[in-house]
């Protein structure tokens, strides 16, 4: 069967087309979903892409988290469907309370855009199973409001339960507490992160590696993990 992965476009989404392309490169069929619909078109997994939904008005991701399609996305997530939130998508997951904590303006006050090294802390989620725990990967990061915060109690719980999915290596680009770059929920089907795996999926267009310029494709395994996860559930 061909795995169908939906990518939701909100007003102000930027990376929806890139996410669809990443889905295709990983071997699944991308399905464009629209924020104003109440229809997931029978997809097997969902990506909430990066961008500036609703112009980041109110708070990043806050208005998108209340858009029509999110009621179906939240139900599907609670039923175990793989859901990945990238950057603004991570902010939407947090605002929809599918993941805990919040994301605030980078501590240094500037927008940051760089190829970011990460450590995969949890390789048993629907979006990370193609990695080994401890793998070090490089994918692009680009955000102005990526500082992850939560109460000490929540942070301790996240660490204790292994829900920190990714941690920043080398530099903490935005002041995220405990270098947290991404999280998963208890069930492992919902994952959110600030860096962009969809921008590291095709040789010639990814981050530089020691082998060649722009040859980094570490992001591909996120989508391959989801495909494996969907096929394993069938």
């Amino acid at each position: 069967m061909s795995v169908r992965i939906g990518v939701v476009t909100f007003p102000g989404s930027l990376d929806d087309r890139d996410a669809q392309r990443a889905v295709r490169l990983a071997g699944a069929e991308p399905v464009a979903l629209w924020h104003a619909d109440h229809d997931l078109q029978g997809v097997d997994a969902i990506v909430l892409p990066g961008g500036f939904s609703y112009g980041d008005y109110l708070r990043c991701g806050a208005i998108a988290a209340h858009s029509p399609i999110m009621s179906e996305v939240i139900d599907a997530a609670n039923a175990g469907m793989p859901v990945l939130g990238i950057c603004n998508g991570f902010q939407i997951l947090v605002e929809a309370q599918l993941l805990p904590g919040g994301l605030i303006r980078n501590d240094h006050g500037d927008f940051v855009c760089r190829d970011q090294r990460l450590r995969v802390e949890n390789a048993s989620t629907a979006w990370t199973s193609a990695f080994e725990a401890g793998d070090e990967i490089t994918i692009p990061l680009k955000n102005g409001e990526g500082g992850y915060i939560a109460t000490e109690e929540t942070l301790d719980r996240l660490e204790g339960e292994g829900l920190v999915a990714f941690r920043y290596l080398d530099v903490n680009p935005n002041g995220s507490l405990r270098d947290i770059a991404g999280l998963t929920n208890e069930r492992g089907n919902v994952v959110g992160l600030m860096p962009h795996p969809e921008h590291a999926t095709e040789p010639g267009f990814g981050p530089d590696t020691v082998d060649a310029m722009r040859s980094g494709v570490d992001g591909l395994r996120f989508f391959q993990s989801a495909i494996e996860s969907v096929l394993a559930r069938v």
Partner: protein, 81 residues
């Protein structure tokens, strides 16, 4: 028509980068009067009719559940303007 004002501030223990940058800019203008700036939000909700207790309660609920994110912000006022 009456207006309900909702004020939201970043939690005091959290860094407010925008406030900090503004504070730095004030210092660069030579002012030494103010030691800190914190930036919050003010919402003005126009009420279609009379402000009853139920309307105020609805504004309070909206303030806590949507206009603010309680993880990072506090609602500091919900009042009739």
């Amino acid at each position: 028509m009456p207006t309900i004002v909702v004020e939201v501030m970043p939690k005091p223990e959290l860094l407010d980068p925008a406030g900090k940058a503004t504070s730095g800019a004030i210092a660069k203008q030579g002012s030494t009067t103010f030691s800190e700036v914190r930036i919050g939000k003010r919402f003005e909700l126009t009420v279609d009719g009379e402000v009853t207790d139920a309307v105020l309660a609805e504004a309070q609920r909206l303030a806590e559940e949507f206009l603010s994110n309680q993880v990072i912000e506090d609602v500091v006022a919900v009042k009739v303007a």
